[in-house]
């Protein structure tokens, strides 16, 4: 069994990162100029890493499959970014952010990484403000904060409901500045199709130019995968249409272990599915749970309209079950509670697979607040409504508009209908403290790695982690590896290893094109998505998972004999791109079920129906499962489990309670 070494520095938790930074090997500026780094993906992690590394003097190449780095799906993150600034004087600290994240992750994340994340969180806000990111501000000119799930302080910084957009455009600007200075070479509409390893180290990639279809070989002293999560394995998710696992999966097949693949986050507040045509699901930001109240009718199969159901016939089930956190319980808990109500027959809307997210009370509360502010002593109901709606509009206007666009209903007048949907994947490539995978020289940053969120991610922490990894972690940790590479000259891409890797990619593309079967790629993707959602989604069971593994294996065979890809290999061919991604999802889906089956406990987003408390909460088994499951690829359908024991030296493991 290969031993996996997380390389966690010695010393007290709070001093590890400081000590690491002052003792890690450095690369002198003239040597940096001759070291080349490949960054795949241009979201928060990729753009911030590429910009920061180029500022340090490294030669950087950035690859993204979209037409511009600014399209990466970080752009769609809505609600905010956490940081332990304690600007609100409400008792926040680095330790509290660390503690909330470990607890929120249901005690399945690595202490040292999470503490480092909390330590650098404040610097992220400083950096973004310096770049001109227009965060929301108070009238005094200082930054505004709000709350997110799983916390009792206000530590979330935001820019309306477009925080991800503003942070990404900040990182993109920094990246484009380096492009303009000639320090970064940008390859848009390029998809990475393999990692090239030479003597066991990552030395480059094979990429396909989507426009010409040509394969290209690129050398790098190190390769950074900042390629996001794999939620699209479910077909329907809040991910972008192009979000995929291909880069991470190719790395996995080249020796990088894949950690905790079954940890997926189902977000509680998404717009419900409207029909078979649905191509993606849209999130309604968690920030809406700051002010919105979630409820279903107390009566089963109630067919009345929401506004016709009187107050005392409504079940505000989150407030009832979790009085301490109420509507702001973490995502996994809110999602399961919605599923429980709908499965029990209390769901609303035509599909009965939805619950209400209601702003009526918030509108009145804000309206009365405004009336007080303006010294109106007896405001009419209309005045309260109109002032209240104006406040809600300023806070959440773009989200309300989006809801109306999609559903045709006006959420200022009727409660929104929401239902959980796949949103984020906590699992990903296994990395050590330095963010290096089990392949030397190959790194994974942001959602693509597994390290910080355990079995459940708290809201507004994805943006924090992506930018922490890119701006403040990798610029230091990469030195530990590259300091020993200063004598390695740039390698020719004509070497046998590059040629062989390119040939393998070419063969696979030709194989796909030559199947000439009868069904479009989407047909297989939808079927995979249904299996995953039914059996490896919000509730999982031994029986269901075992059956799913067989079904997925059969689906893999069917795909490779019956998929139909039109067009040409040497031209823009979006179906060919999609086919390659779905082929990888089909293999990943199998591993997710294997991982879910191995984990005979419930924790965070992983809920095995066999393991629950009497009142339906997740039942962990810390004696047996306090480990990271890191899977090694052996051959098709064969994966070997390696365990990284999780040691909690600074936090007492407890049953997670939000009651």
């Amino acid at each position: 069994m290969t031993k996996i070494d997380a390389k966690i520095p010695d010393g007290n938790l709070a001093e590890k990162w400081t000590k690491f930074k002052s003792s890690v090997s450095l690369v002198n500026p003239s040597n940096k100029r001759s070291l080349e780094i490949i960054v795949v993906g241009s979201g928060l992690a990729g753009a911030s890493a590429a910009a920061s590394l180029a500022e340090l003097g490294y030669k950087v190449k950035v690859f993204c499959f979209q037409d511009s780095p600014r399209r990466a799906h970080s752009i769609a993150a809505q609600g905010g970014i956490n940081a332990a600034k304690n600007y609100q004087n409400d008792g926040d600290s680095v330790y509290r952010l660390f503690y909330d994240t470990i607890k929120g992750g249901d005690y399945r994340a690595r202490e040292a990484n999470v503490h480092r994340l909390a330590e650098v969180s404040g610097s992220i806000i400083d950096q973004c403000v310096a770049q001109g990111v227009p965060f929301a501000r108070e009238y005094g000119g200082l930054l505004s904060n709000r709350s997110f799930g799983g916390t009792q302080v206000q530590r979330t910084f935001y820019a309306a409901g477009q925080t991800g957009q503003q942070l990404l455009l900040g990182a993109y600007s920094a990246l484009q500045r380096q492009v303009g200075m000639g320090n970064v070479q940008l390859f848009t509409r390029h998809e990475m199709l393999d990692v090239v390893t030479i003597d066991g180290k990552a030395r480059g990639i094979i990429a396909r130019d989507s426009v010409s279809g040509a394969l290209e070989r690129h050398f790098g002293h190190a390769v950074l995968l900042c390629t996001g999560g794999y939620g699209n394995v479910f077909y329907l998710s809040t991910n972008a249409m192009g979000s995929n696992v291909t880069a991470a999966w190719k790395a996995h097949k080249k020796g990088a272990f894949f950690a905790n693949p079954c940890y997926t986050q189902i977000h509680p507040t998404c717009i419900p599915v409207s029909g078979d045509h649905q191509s993606k699901l849209t999130l309604m930001s968690e920030s809406l749970r700051n002010d919105g109240r979630i409820w279903v009718p107390k009566k089963e199969n109630d067919t009345r309209k929401a506004n016709e159901i009187p107050e005392d016939e409504r079940d505000y089930y989150l407030e009832r079950r979790y009085p301490a956190f109420g509507n702001l319980v973490p995502r996994d808990i809110a999602s399961r509670a919605a599923k429980e109500r709908c499965d029990a027959g209390f769901g609303v809307g035509s599909s009965k697979m939805a619950v209400y997210l209601d702003y009526a009370a918030a509108i009145i509360r804000y309206g009365k607040g405004e009336a007080n502010k303006h010294n109106m002593h007896s405001p009419t109901d209309e005045e309260i409504q109109s002032m209240g709606k104006a406040v809600v509009k300023e806070k959440y206007g773009n989200l309300f508009d989006m809801y109306k666009q999609i559903t045709g209903e006006d959420p200022y007048e009727v409660p929104m209908r929401i239902y959980p949907a796949v949103h984020y994947t906590m699992g990903g490539l296994w990395v050590d403290y330095n963010l290096m995978t089990t392949v030397p020289g190959l790194y994974a940053l942001g959602e693509a790695n597994f390290s910080d969120h355990g079995a459940n991610r708290l809201g507004a922490s994805a943006l924090m982690q992506g930018l922490a990894d890119g701006y403040f972690v990798i610029p230091y940790t990469i030195g530990a590896y590259l300091a020993a590479e200063i004598r390695t000259p740039s390698m020719s891409t004509d070497s046998e290893d590059f040629v062989k890797a390119e040939k393998a990619v070419q063969d696979r593309l030709e194989t796909l094109m030559n199947i000439k079967g009868s069904k479009p790629v989407d047909y297989f993707h939808k079927r995979l998505g249904k299996i995953m959602w039914d059996e490896c989604g919000m509730a999982r069971s031994e029986k269901g998972l075992k059956a799913s593994i067989k079904e997925i294996q059969a689906l893999q065979k069917e795909f490779w004999s019956d998929v139909k890809i039109p067009g040409e290999i040497n031209n823009l061919n979006l179906e060919l791109e999609k086919a390659g991604r779905v082929a990888d999802f089909l293999e990943l889906g199998e591993l997710m079920c294997i991982d879910a089956l191995d984990r005979n406990e419930s924790c965070g987003g992983h809920f095995r129906i066999e393991y629950q408390t009497e009142d339906g909460e997740a039942l962990r088994d810390d004696d047996k499962y306090a480990y990271v499951a890191a899977w090694e690829y052996e051959k098709q359908s064969s994966f070997k489990l390696h365990k990284e024991e999780l040691k909690y030296e600074n936090i007492k493991i407890a049953q997670r309670s939000y009651k």
């Binding site: 399209r71 769609a76 001109g132 920094a174 500045r177």
Partner: protein, 252 residues
């Protein structure tokens, strides 16, 4: 069949940048009013694939109106008939049964067609690379609250920064001008104290790059603002002009 809309689609098909393109006509039926415009094209494409034809190539990614990748010119308007939405957020309830819908790519010489409805917008990336940033390396920042910013200015900067870089402004403009896009970034940074130090060089460099890319001039028609899915205001162009002229007059 999920719905009851039957539509005629006239879609621009073009094999690549070098080849001439032309309109092709397709019929689609059973379209649900709950579908987005792109989901309707998905239905068409899956049928084309099953029939052995090449599906219509189009850019799209997030399908929630924020990535800026989708870019269809529908019935003579960028992103179609509704104000304030991108093509991916346009739903079929905005169309009537029996309607004929014409779909074209963005038309601008600075945005060459790659295939069908896909165009090359990398000129926008180069405009940003020319000056759309604040030169602050990672690690150089002071504490964020050491720099209070007037809320109105911060809000206006945010409104300008909401640009998604889709290029609808260019497609809407009879001169194919990129002034709205360029001015949105210049405005965002000009409104913030952090952006002041490089204000003059930024305006000059970005305008020079915009001209070099072959975008046209602004003749104050206002089509860009009307068609912008994010409501970016034409006031930004006025602010950019002020920034640009004061930079020019004061340049050494």
């Amino acid at each position: 069949m999920e719905g009851n809309l039957n539509l005629t689609l006239k879609i621009w098909r073009q094999k690549n940048t070098q080849t001439a393109g032309k309109f092709e006509t397709y019929q689609v039926s059973g379209i649900s009013t709950d579908m987005s415009f792109l989901e309707m094209i998905d239905v068409l494409n899956n049928r084309l694939i099953e029939e052995g034809d090449d599906p219509v190539a189009f850019d799209h990614d997030c399908r929630e109106g924020i990535c800026g990748m989708c870019s269809m010119y529908i019935n003579g308007r960028p992103h179609g008939p509704n104000r304030g939405v991108t093509t991916c957020q346009l739903h079929m309830r905005s169309f009537k049964d029996g309607e004929t819908i014409t779909v074209e790519p963005w038309r601008a010489s600075a945005f060459p067609v790659i295939k069908d409805l896909v165009v090359n917008r990398s000129a926008f990336d180069r405009i940003i690379a020319a000056g759309g940033f604040i030169s602050v390396n990672t690690g150089n920042a002071q504490d964020a609250n050491n720099l209070p910013i007037n809320k109105d200015n911060a809000d206006d900067a945010f409104a300008a920064a909401a640009c998604i870089g889709c290029g609808a402004c260019v497609a809407a403009c009879k001169n194919a001008s990129a002034m709205l896009f360029t001015s949105a970034k210049i405005s965002q940074l000009a409104l913030l104290p952090q952006g002041q130090i490089e204000a003059a060089t930024r305006a000059q460099a970005m305008v020079a790059q915009m001209d070099e890319e072959g975008f046209g001039a602004c003749s104050n028609t206002g089509a860009c603002e009307a068609e912008c899915p994010k409501g970016i205001s034409i006031e930004n162009i006025a602010r950019m002009n002020r920034e640009y002229f004061s930079a020019t007059f004061s340049s050494k």
